[in-house]
């Protein structure tokens, strides 16, 4: 395959693994649009896409492949993603849903990897819960810009992996009850979230790189929990300090036997 000769260092089975892998991408805006494009370039053939939104003028500062024409006709974001994939991978299998994944969860459960490009902590919690229940690696990316006092804005983000059998987003200290409560308290008053294309690109590229390494093991080095912290002011991406304080042992939030479709089970006697 001449087309993929420049990535043949990934290993003799790499392209087959990539082609067989069914990827789920939830959220196709700033982060998800980068991810879709890169996966299509790499040779991924099986996609499950979710986004309820349509392209607006305010998306065009960061949504790669979104065009003025898309915004004018309010094209669904899934249509833009499908267009990108089909132009690179005409034979790709694409299941695209203009809606919430919660309303059509069955295709997502069949995915081998899920990329979460959602805006809220509650959204991450719910997506992770699904991924853990069906034993799917969940790769989350996110970016935020904070302004405190007279200081310059602080841009920060993360790439974090919730791997079944390993620590979850709560174990890693990324998802906390406090954050969820704060978010719930300001529900409906969030306002526009600052996002920029270059930072989204860095986070999305890193997430794709992690997924490829997971599938091909080309570095033979990916063995530990992944939680990368992005400092947009310094332009650095590196292991998050919270990894140093990770408590060893099985994840208490997603016990090993709590997988699959929920069902009633008799409690032990006595």
């Amino acid at each position: 395959m001449e087309r993929y000769s420049r990535q043949s260092f990934l290993g003799p089975d790499a392209q087959e693994n990539v082609a067989q892998c069914r990827v789920g991408i939830v959220g196709l805006g700033g982060g998800g649009s980068h991810i879709v494009q890169q996966l299509a370039h790499l040779g991924f053939q099986r996609y499950v896409l979710y986004d309820p939104d349509r392209v607006e003028d305010s998306n065009l500062n960061r949504m790669v492949n979104g065009t003025v024409r898309d915004a004018e006709r309010a094209a669904p974001k899934i249509s833009v993603a499908k267009r990108v994939i089909k132009r690179l991978q005409p034979d790709a299998s694409i299941q695209a849903f203009q809606g919430r994944w919660e309303d059509r969860p069955l295709p997502l459960r069949a995915c081998d990897i899920i990329f979460g490009c959602v805006d809220t902590m509650a959204g991450r919690r719910d997506l992770e819960a699904c991924a853990r229940r069906y034993l799917i690696p969940y790769v989350d990316i996110g970016l935020d810009v904070h302004k405190v006092g007279d200081e310059p804005p602080r841009m920060a983000g993360q790439v974090v992996v919730s791997m079944p059998g390993g620590p979850c987003l709560t174990c890693l200290g990324f998802l906390t009850e406090e954050l969820l409560a704060k978010e719930a308290a300001r529900y409906g008053a969030a306002g526009p979230r600052p996002q920029v294309v270059w930072a989204n690109g860095i986070l999305a590229s890193s997430a794709v790189g992690i997924a490829v390494d997971l599938l091909t093991d080309w570095t033979q080095a990916l063995r530990e929990p992944i939680y990368l912290s992005y400092d947009g002011n310094k332009g650095t991406l590196g292991p998050h300090v919270r990894l140093r304080y990770l408590v060893p042992g099985p994840c208490p939030h997603y016990p090993a036997d709590q997988v699959g479709d929920p069902s009633f089970v008799a409690l032990p006697r006595g």
């Binding site: 079944p164 059998g165 390494d213 036997d257 709590q258 089970v265």
Partner: protein, 164 residues
């Protein structure tokens, strides 16, 4: 079928241990079912080794286990409604295949599990050093189906084509 890597490693480590007289070891891998669009997921959720004392000397097969080991697996199926897969290891690389003895014995074993867990999916799983194959009896089925893919979920993520 999806197996978390720690569970896969636990099973493989147990199956690689030498037994005092049996030529190979067997174990029981427990699964729950997940529904998707058009396929059934078998999700590994536990592994139970068979104790040394529960093997029976039989030169005609690689390993034979006694009724205590089988009853123990049946009890877990009854208590938890999990499915159970008889599992063993062929110590070579490449795609493993069940022998005709394996197939004959599975046909005898699985009805016992179906009797206590008629709504669960049971079956048999064989590992090689870098591959896997499995057959599964869907709820109430008389004949097995080949599990088309076995994934080991972790670092790295292995997507293995199932063989039987």
């Amino acid at each position: 079928m999806r197996l978390p890597r720690p569970l896969y490693q636990e099973a493989l480590a147990d199956l690689k241990r030498r037994h005092p007289f049996a030529a190979e070891r067997v174990g029981f891998l427990f699964v729950r079912v997940g529904s998707t669009d058009g396929a059934v997921l078998l999700l590994g959720c536990g592994y139970a080794p068979v104790a040394d004392a529960e093997y029976v000397e039989d030169l005609g097969v690689g390993a034979r286990i006694n009724s205590t080991a089988i009853r123990s697996a049946m009890q877990r199926v009854l208590d938890t409604r999990q499915g159970v897969f008889h599992v063993h290891l062929h110590e070579h690389r490449g795609a493993p295949r069940f022998s005709w003895v394996d197939t004959r014995e599975h046909g005898r074993l699985v009805p016992s599990f179906q009797a206590v867990g008629p709504k669960s999916v049971h079956g048999a799983l064989v590992f090689s050093l870098n591959g896997a194959g499995a057959v599964a009896w869907p709820a109430d089925a008389l004949d097995p189906v080949v599990v088309d893919r076995i994934s080991v979920v972790g670092y790295p993520l292995s997507l293995m084509k199932g063989t039987a």
